[in-house]
Each structure stands twice: as structure tokens, then as C-alpha cells.
Amino acid sequence: MRFCRVRSVAEAVDELSRWGTEGRILAGGTDVMPQYLRGEQSPAVLIDISGIDGLGGISDVGGVTSIGALVTMRRLATASLIALRHPALSQAAAAVGAWQTQTVATLGGNICTAAATADTLPALLIADAQLTLVSKSGRRRIGLEDFLAGSGATALRPTELLRAVELEPLGERSSEGYLKVARRSAMDLAVVGLALRLDVAPSGVIDGVRIAMCGGDQSAHRVSAAESALLGTRLSDDPGAFGEVGAVLADAVGSAALPEAQYRRRVLPGLFDRLARRCAGEIAGAGA
């Protein structure tokens, strides 16, 4: 196997176009290296992008949050801009692996590895994440929902590099959060991870709902049936509505053949209730 370190996006896409399916991008290495050592991956060349300048930034571009593909989980978990605008992402990044993993694992890696249990994906989905992919022939933008194509599968072409992710920040009367259920308190995959963003009109009517989960199916995904069940209800008067949404979520859990499907179904209603109450409380607190 060849190891090739690139210093710029231009160099990276050159190498990618040269090697095509024979190449594999290495960033933090927390997925690629174990796969390689287990013999599950044997690419002809590893293209190390960790030294590229300019992929490690978090910035505000005209009200949209732009996050470079090399931003680490630890950075996401601690950056104040993320905590303020994307608390669910901040919480999800802090739930990935252990501190050691978070220090090297990158957002781009979490997205492109596209594990069914990837913690950051639900948090990105509720912020309507748009990905910028670059290749020698140019660039294209694609929504994260369209990008994800099953466990470990994405719309990324072998010649493409994920450059940045753009997120829609939290609105003024909005709240969001991420909750993860795992068997251990760190270094464990999500049995299920749930992200919720709530927008509430001054009247108290919920006028925006985004719900996404990981662990429940082959890919992380939005759960529109649960979103519609909550949309238009009033925040204050019927906490019971949360229970109904929880039941819809439990039904949305994919194939029962996935490990732990039964446990996942069982915890989802309570988990949603906990998350929704937390978000509602934050909005009510902010409004008071």
C-alpha cells in the first residue's frame, strides 16, 4: 500500500482522480485505520488529507454556519459558535467515542463513513446540512439526506472530496438537542441517537419541527411522520402529544433484523419525551 500526503485540496483531487476506487482518504483515521488493520479495507493508496490548510475552520458565511471537513469532534464539542448555533451538534460530537477519538476524528470522516450509528448525522440533518463536494471537474452541492445511501454508503464519487458542510443555525424562538442511548458511557456505538429542533411561534404554536435519528435504520434519517405529528400543536397545553410522537418514532425504527431493534423501539418514546421537554423548557425559559 502506498501512502500519499497531500497539502492542498487541488493536490487531493488530483490524487483522487488518479487513483479512483483504488484510493482511500485518510483524515482522523479512527475508522480507516481499524478497518485496514482488520483487513476489511486494502486500498492501493491512502491519501492523507490531514495536512491540508483551510479545511479546519468554522465560520459564519452570511448567516449560515460553514464547517470545514477536517474540523475535529473535540473542536465541535467545545467551539462556542457551535454551542450557540448548533447545540445538538455540540452534544453529538461530545458523544462520539472517547476523548482520544474525538481529538482526531473529523466531521468529514463521520459524514463520509456514514455509519448507521454516526452520532453527528442526526444533528446535521436537523440543521439541513448541505455538503460541498469537490473534484477535478468542479464542485457540487448536495443535501445530507440525499448524500446518505445506507450503512457505509453515500453519494460520494471516488474522485470527490468533501470540503465543507453548511448548516442553518438555530432561530430565535428555537431549541435543539441530541440524546444518545448506548450501553456504556463512552467508546460505544449508539443503540439510538435522536436529534430534535423545535421552532415555536410567539403564540406558542410549534411552527417548525425537525427530528432525525441514527441507529434506527441503515442510515441516519429525518422522521417526517413524527415531525408532522408534532407540527402545529401548542407547546404549552399538551405534553401528551410528545408521547404520540414517540410512538410514531418507535414505528419508524427500521428492520427488526438490526441488532437491538426491540430495545431501541422501547426507549424511543421516553427518549423523545425527555428531549422534547428539555427543548420546550429551554424555549419557555428564554421567552420568560
Binding site: R183, R184, S185, Y263
Partner: protein, 758 residues
């Protein structure tokens, strides 16, 4: 100044912290070959053929050795039931069927994967229940031809490897007189030792003798087992020990060493072997899975008239030490808490699964789990406070254990209940919604098996202890034995060195097991040191022209009491004596005598007494998440009696580690079997607790000096794992208001139990 009761630095700390310590898995030799085992991919089947050709095609592979090329007899620690390589049939997934010899590790492992093993599978006997079912297939059709060490009658019969029966015959009467009966059946999974350094062996053969370099808990057992397997005299085998990267019982018996030795002789080259991570799991002597059914006849006033215990533990495909461990229920049920009479019936059975064996606190965690869950159940049935009921039922000094052994100091346990209550008052502990508290008590042994030490005074006045006691991580050798020698000789701890194990160079030692090193080897060192000291004083008395009884030794200086100017250093003494009388050295041995007991108390009992008992009370305080079913251990308290604390930091370290392992067994670790095969194949699936899952353990160390121990010390390292699962299960049951009768306690099980209470 006395070094006892202080916590000096371990002799191995610096090298281990810097990564310079050489573990077994670091060893290599010039001209070394590698070998790897081809293992059965199925749990049970007839072995039809082994085709070596695909392996031999791999570059670097020299040979594929099969059963036809190795000794054809069966061996074992207690029952000689284990073939070196399976010949006609395989009895578990992972059983060795061939050895691949190669020029490199990669080639050996690739070869082992490529050997074509043709097995006609048969339906495995997967569980102990299946093994005992009428008409069950025999795991070993020729079981009756297997020899038993010493010809002991251990109650073997078909799939029953061993049976221990204690039955005074008065149970029916007691149950007839009972106001009510409380019963429960407690199920527990296996537990995998999960030590980090894999098992390995490096063997050489020269001038008719085998040398095995290894990281092993019990070099002399290894020597004897390799000799047994190869059919040579024990003296033809030398075992040299190196730093051990964790053992927890998994490195007490032979594993790869005999294969490596056989090949070293065959090739006249050093041969190295080492388990892969998957082999570690498949071949680990896990803590046995077991089913423990307990029934007690109880009177309304709280008297337990009788307890009837029926235990079935899974030996796996071979006996290993299961027959000996089957005695241990006798020291748990009806011994810690008073019962008028008890029947204890234990069977250890063959299944087509990996052989189980020793894991720290052998059998204890699941026996104490059953005993203490049962105590909670009786207290609940009586409407009594659980702590108050335990105190009322606790054995009293002079009471007999089920083997007839008097409990001389069991009142220490009563003191432990007070000490824990002082730290976290029972009335308030675990109060609140979905919070709970649980307690569990245990009386654990200090392994009595023999040890020997030679203490020599070096010519510079320092001392070396020559012993095959092994440092298995606890610090028993790296600090404890050195402190004992230093105290006895009048030296500082850092003036004492202890050798690494070498069966050619030292007296017999029964290895790192059952907390025995400090007590047994420490005693031998104290005795040998006393002899060395007396020779030193003789010499010094000539040099100082003073009577030996007027001399004192402090910090390496011998002086006349009251006349500090009249002194010589130990170095001067050593120099002088070496060239006049000859060098000073002395050896001593120790074996703990078997405590008084009734030899007729049970049939099939191989462990007859419970020597040098120590006393333990654990208290767990937990909270339960109603949504996820997740259990958080908020607070954990251990009160442990140790005789005398030689190195307090090492003891609290062992307590913290033991509790962490116990929490894994209680809550998160899984070793499931599916048709005889392990379900979890990686650490990722296994669920070891992490630092974030384990609270800081609060340890209360009680000292009640043992007259037989060195400066009063008993053993301390093994038992902290024993009561943990019981205390946690009692706390969880208290939190959710529903019984917990199986381990580990998965979040799903907690949610199930919660649902049933609603």
C-alpha cells in the same frame, strides 16, 4: 524505620510506566520459528480429515503437525480428559486440531487459517440443561476411561464431570416445620478475563531439556503440565517467568507452551507462539456460567431452618479445575448467615463449549450473588429491614461452616456493617425515586498452597529474595515481599530485590492465585529472614564484641542498643562473614495447614477447608434511568479485612480493580453462547466497563493481625471482585422494586422488571 503500612514505590513501576518492562509477548530469539494452531470451527463434530496442502502452499510454512504426530494420551489438572490435538472428534469451537510451523508469525497464522479441516458437525450439547437432560448425547463417550488425579472419587457420571453432595438428611423435617418457604433461581453468564497481554510461549530445547519462557501465573504448574503432556519428567522442563500483562486466573494452566516445546525439540530451534485476539477469547478459561437454585425454610421469627441449594455449573468441553471449584458453595451457603441445616448439591457438567476455569474469585461472584439475593428475598418476605435481618442472621464466632470448620473471627463482619454504616448511613443510603442500596457479604480464603523463599545477604549489605512467586500486577512481589524482607532484616525496602520466577533456581511455588503470595511466600520470607538475621547478629557480635541479644539492626546498620557509636553496617558484616564463615543465605518454606473440618461432610469435595479467611462487606448505591433502563452506580463502598495491610495503596488499588471487574460482571460484560459458539467475538462487542462507568470506590481496610501471617498479613487481592454483583443486584432490585435474578443486568432486563411492577 518500618516500611510496613507505608506505600513505597513498586520495583517494576518505572520500567512499566516507561514501556521498558519486557513482557512475555515482547520476547524473541535468534533463529526463532513461529507456530500457530488451527482450531475447530464448529462446537462438535467428527474429525474426518485434515488437508495440510493449502497451508503448505503459503510461503514460509514448513509443516502442518496433526494428532498423528503428537502424544496421543489425554491429560488434565484433575481429570485427564484433554488431548493435545483433537484426533477423532472435536468437543468445542476453538479446540486445537493442528499446528502450523513457519518461518514467520504472519505465515504461521495464515497457514493456520488455511488448513482444510473436514469435520462432520453434530448437534452440540450447548447448555448445562441439555447436558443433564435424559438421553443427552455424551460430550465424551469414553468419559469412564479418563484418569483422575490421585484416583479421587469426584462423582463423575456421563456428562457430569464432578458432583459434590452435602446432605445431612434432615431437610424434609425442617421444611415441614417452616412457616413459609422462600425460593429463587439465579442465572449467570460466563466472564472473560480480558487481560491485555495475550497468551504466548517461547520454547527452546537443548541437551535433552526444554526451557519455556513465558508470562505465567504459576510456573511450577506449567512445568508439571508440559511434562505431563509431553510424557517427560518435570525436571526435564524449566520455566522462566517474565512480566505478566494481566492474568486474572487465565494464566494458571498450560495453553500454548507444550506445543512450542514439542516443536522446539522437533526442529532444534526456538519456537514462539502467541494467541490472536480471537483465540484469546475462544481459548480463555472463562468464569463458568451457572444456575443456582436456592430454597429456604423460614420461620416467622426469622430463623432459617434449612437451605436447599442445587447448583449446575458449566465446565465446557474439558474438566480443567471445575471439580475443585465445585467445593466452594460449601463456604458460601449456610456459612456466612446462620441456617440450622443445609443441603448443597453441586454438579459441574460437560458441554460442547470452550472449557471454563479460573477467573479471580473463582465461582464466588455468582455464589454470593445467589446467596445475597436470597437473603434480600427472605428479608422482604419477612417484612424485615434487609440490613437488620442480615445482622440478626450473621454467623457468630465459633459457628461452624458447612464443612465443620469453626469460624473463629466472623464477628469482624459485624464490625464491617458498623464501619460501612458510619460512612454511608443505611437509613438514607440510596433513598429517592428509582434509587436503591444493596449489601453483600463474603468470607473468602487465602490460598494455602506451598511456597519457598531463599533470602541471601549480598556482599554490599543488601538482600535478594530468590523465589518463583509471580508478580501478577497486584504488587505482592514488587512491593509486599520486599517490604516483609526489609522489615525482618532491618533494611529499607529499596535494598531488597526479588528474582523473577525460574523453576530450576527456586523452591516450589504455587503461583499467583487466591491472594496467597503475601501470606504464604511472605511467611516463608519472614522465616528465612529471621535465620539470616540471626547469622548477621552472630557475625556482628564478634565484630562489635557485644552479645548478639544486645544488638539492633536499623536501616542497614547493626549497633549495640544504647551505644549508637558501636556499630557496623550490614555491608561490613557481609564482607567479613563471606571471607570467614562463608556467605549468608537461608531458605524457608510455608504451606498453610488445612483448618480443622469434618472430612465426611460431603462427597466429592477436593477443597476441604477455607484457610486464612478474610471478611468482606460491600455496599452499592445505584440509580436507574426509567427511560433507558441504564444503571448508574452512584457510590460504592468496600469494607475488607486483610490481617495487616503491608502496602495500603496496593490494597486499595486491588479493591478498585476488583470492583471494576465485578461491575462488568454485574452490568455490562457479555459472554453469550449460541449453539456452543461465543456470540461476542471482539472487545467492541464485549462491554468491559470504562473508567467513566466505574465510581471511585471508597475502601475501608480493617486490620486484625493473623498470627500465622508475616507481620499479621492475610491475602487481600482476589476477593474484592467477589461480592460486587450481589451488592449491585440488590441495589437495583431495591431501586425498581422488583427482583433481579440473572446477570448481567441489561437495561432491557431493568425495563422488563419495571414494567412488571407497574
Amino acid at each position: 524505620m518500618s516500611a510496613l503500612g507505608t506505600s513505597p514505590e513498586r520495583s517494576d513501576a518505572d520500567a512499566k510506566l516507561r514501556g521498558q518492562a519486557v513482557y512475555g509477548a515482547d520476547l524473541s530469539k535468534t533463529g526463532m520459528l513461529w507456530a500457530a494452531l488451527a482450531r475447530s470451527p464448529v462446537a462438535a463434530g467428527h474429525l474426518r480429515a485434515i488437508d495440510p496442502v493449502p497451508a503448505l502452499r503459503i510461503d514460509g510454512v514448513l509443516e502442518v503437525v496433526t494428532a498423528a504426530d503428537v502424544p496421543d494420551w489425554r491429560t488434565g489438572v484433575i481429570v485427564s480428559d484433554t488431548p493435545m490435538l483433537a484426533a477423532d472428534y472435536v468437543a468445542y469451537e476453538g479446540e486445537p486440531v493442528a499446528i502450523v510451523v513457519a518461518e514467520s508469525r504472519a505465515a504461521a497464522e495464515a497457514g493456520a487459517r488455511s488448513v482444510a479441516v473436514d469435520i462432520e458437525p453434530v448437534e452440540p450439547v450447548s447448555t448445562p440443561e441439555q447436558a443433564l437432560a435424559p438421553g443427552a448425547r455424551l460430550v465424551h463417550p469414553e468419559w469412564n476411561r479418563f484418569a483422575v488425579a490421585g484416583g479421587a472419587d469426584i462423582g463423575r457420571n456421563g456428562n457430569v464431570v464432578a458432583e459434590v453432595v452435602h446432605d445431612p438428611g434432615d431437610l424434609d423435617e425442617a421444611f415441614a416445620a417452616a412457616d413459609f418457604v422462600v425460593e429463587g433461581t439465579y442465572r449467570t453468564l460466563r466472564q472473560y478475563q480480558a487481560h491485555l497481554e495475550p497468551k504466548m510461549a517461547l520454547a527452546t530445547y537443548e541437551s535433552g531439556r526444554y526451557t519455556i519462557e513465558v508470562s505465567h501465573q504459576y510456573p511450577f504448574r506449567l512445568r508439571d503440565r508440559v511434562a505431563q503432556i509431553l510424557g517427560v519428567a518435570p525436571s526435564a522442563v524449566r520455566v522462566v517467568g517474565h512480566h505478566i500483562g494481566g492474568g486474572f486466573g487465565a494464566k494458571l494452566d498450560v495453553s500454548l507452551e507444550a506445543f512450542a516445546a514439542l516443536l522446539a525439540q522437533r526442529y532444534r530451534r526456538p519456537v514462539r507462539m502467541q494467541h490472536t485476539a480471537l483465540e484469546e477469547r475462544l481459548a480463555a478459561p472463562c468464569r463458568a456460567n451457572a444456575i443456582t437454585a436456592v430454597r429456604s425454610a423460614v420461620r416467622r421469627d426469622g430463623t432459617i431452618l434449612a437451605t436447599d441449594v442445587e447448583i449446575v455449573s458449566d465446565s465446557g468441553a474439558y474438566a480443567n479445575n471445575g471439580p475443585a471449584l465445585s467445593s466452594i458453595p460449601m463456604f458460601v451457603f449456610g456459612s456466612i448467615y446462620r441456617v440450622d441445616t443445609a443441603r448443597i448439591w453441586t454438579r459441574n457438567v460437560y458441554t460442547n463449549t470452550a472449557p471454563t476455569g479460573a477467573y479471580r474469585g473463582v465461582n464466588g461472584p455468582w455464589l454470593v450473588f445467589a446467596n445475597e439475593r436470597h437473603m434480600d428475598a427472605i428479608a422482604d418476605a419477612l417484612g424485615r429491614d434487609r440490613r437488620e435481618f442480615r445482622l440478626a442472621s450473621l454467623a457468630r464466632d465459633g459457628d461452624l461452616m458447612r464443612n465443620g470448620q469453626p469460624l473463629e473471627q466472623v464477628s469482624i463482619l459485624r464490625e464491617a456493617f458498623d464501619r460501612v454504616d458510619d460512612l454511608s448511613g443505611w437509613q438514607d443510603a440510596g433513598a429517592g425515586e428509582l434509587r436503591g442500596v444493596g449489601q453483600a457479604a463474603a468470607i473468602w480464603l487465602t490460598n494455602p498452597m506451598p511456597g519457598h523463599a531463599t533470602v541471601k545477604l549480598n556482599e554490599d549489605g543488601t538482600a535478594t529474595v530468590i523465589t518463583s512467586a509471580t508478580e501478577n500486577g497486584s504488587g505482592a512481589v514488587a512491593t509486599g515481599l520486599r517490604q516483609i524482607a526489609a522489615e525482618a532484616l532491618g533494611l529499607a525496602t529499596d535494598q531488597v530485590t526479588v528474582t523473577m520466577p525460574d523453576t530450576d533456581a527456586t523452591g516450589y511455588d504455587a503461583g499467583s492465585q487466591g491472594s496467597r503470595t503475601t501470606h504464604v511466600v511472605g511467611r516463608a520470607i519472614a522465616d528465612a529472614s529471621a535465620e539470616v538475621r540471626s547469622q548477621v547478629l552472630d557475625q556482628a557480635s564478634q565484630m562489635l564484641e557485644a552479645a548478639a541479644e544486645d544488638l539492633v539492626i536499623t536501616d542497614g546498620v547493626v549497633s549495640v542498643a544504647g551505644v549508637p557509636t558501636a556499630s557496623v553496617t550490614l555491608g561490613q558484616v557481609a564482607q567479613s562473614v563471606t571471607w570467614t564463615e562463608g556467605p549468608i543465605a537461608a531458605g524457608a518454606s510455608y504451606v498453610t495447614p488445612t483448618p480443622p473440618h469434618d472430612p465426611l461432610c460431603a462427597t466429592g469435595m477436593l477443597i476441604k477447608g477455607w484457610p486464612t479467611p478474610t471478611y468482606h462487606l460491600h455496599q452499592a448505591e445505584v440509580s436507574v434511568d426509567a427511560v433507558t433502563g441504564h444503571v448508574t452506580v452512584d457510590r460504592y463502598i468496600v469494607c475488607q479485612e486483610v490481617g495487616r495491610a503491608i502496602h495500603p495503596d496496593a490494597i486499595t488499588g486491588q479493591i478498585q480493580g476488583g470492583v471494576a471487574q465485578g461491575l462488568g460482571f454485574a452490568l455490562s460484560e457479555r459472554v453469550d453462547l449460541d449453539h456452543g459458539r461465543y456470540v461476542q467475538r471482539t472487545f467492541k462487542q464485549h462491554g468491559l466497563p470504562l473508567a467513566a462507568d466505574v465510581p471511585r470506590v471508597e475502601a475501608i481496610v480493617m486490620e486484625h493481625a493473623d498470627p500465622a501471617g508475616p507481620f499479621g498479613a492475610k491475602g487481600a487481592a482476589e476477593p474484592p471482585v467477589v461480592p460486587v454483583a450481589a451488592a449491585v443486584a440488590n441495589a437495583v432490585a431495591d431501586a425498581i422494586g422488583a427482583p433481579i435474578d440473572s446477570l448481567p443486568i441489561r437495561p432491557e432486563d431493568v425495563l422488563d422488571a419495571l414494567e412488571r411492577t407497574q
